[in-house]
């Protein structure tokens, strides 16, 4: 699946997007974040404060307990500050 990172999540990880292939036992957004944060210091830094992290599946906001199955695109970003 395609992963997108925005704002300081993007800066900490060091890339805007990538293809990720999480193990099959990763079912939810929360599990995916835990798995990603084990992929290196940059990921650990990006996912250090899980509580404030926002996620979108196929461009729709989701909670951390949402299932990632069937999603083609997941995005991680801090709370939005538009407007």
């Amino acid at each position: 699946m395609k992963a997108l990172y925005f704002a300081w999540v993007r800066e900490r990880i060091g890339k805007a997007e990538e293809e990720i292939v999480p193990p099959e036992n990763i079912k939810t957004v929360a599990e995916l974040m835990a798995w990603l944060s084990g992929q290196g210091e940059n990921y650990a830094a990006a996912f250090a404060s899980i509580k404030t992290m926002r996620a979108a599946l196929d461009r729709t906001h989701v909670k951390h307990d949402a299932s990632i199955q069937n999603a083609r695109e997941i995005a991680f970003f801090p709370p939005m500050t538009g407007g």
């Binding site: 704002a7 993007r10 461009r59 729709t60 995005a75 970003f77 801090p78 939005m80 407007g83």
Partner: protein, 154 residues
């Protein structure tokens, strides 16, 4: 009754008057027009610019969804939301929301709702560029923005 609906995400600046004129052209049933412009403040000279990042595709979709909610919730004749991204200088507009309806209460409520929504749900992030210092910190989300957005929920 279908409201006219315009949503755009763009780097270019906008002209609020021109947008309002185009949005309401030929419409003779409008008694109230509310226009909200969100501007980049200079923070007492400390700010050189704001850099706005967005999630292409999702940003447009989220704003469009909010505009549809507004149009279904209040009897609007027309609604417009334009949000910029990229580098924005102090004094420049960041976001423009225009609502038009027969009566003022609905136009005010819809514009206010759209702004509260944009602040908390539309995928945009602001980074400060400080005068003489280059890129600085990311703007933090304000708890009161979430409180404002919550008040519209049934």
């Amino acid at each position: 009754m279908a409201a006219r609906l315009v949503v755009r995400v763009q780097t270019e600046g906008f002209d609020a008057a021109e947008e309002a004129a185009r949005l309401t052209q030929g419409c003779t049933n409008i008694g109230a027009l509310v226009s909200f412009t969100g501007l980049c403040r200079d923070e007492g000279g400390a700010l050189a610019a704001l850099e706005i990042e967005h999630y292409p595709g999702m940003a447009e979709a989220e704003i469009h969804r909010a505009a549809l909610v507004a149009a279904s919730r209040w009897p609007l004749e027309a609604v417009l939301a334009v949000h910029r991204y990229g580098l924005i200088l102090p004094g420049e507009g960041i976001v423009l929301v225009i609502t038009a309806s027969q009566h003022r209460t609905e136009a005010f409520a819809a514009a206010s709702f759209l702004m509260d929504y944009l602040k908390t749900e539309a995928p945009f992030w602001k980074k400060r560029h400080l005068a003489g210092k280059g890129a600085g910190d990311w703007v933090e989300a304000k708890p009161q923005d979430h409180a404002a957005a919550r008040k519209w929920r049934g």
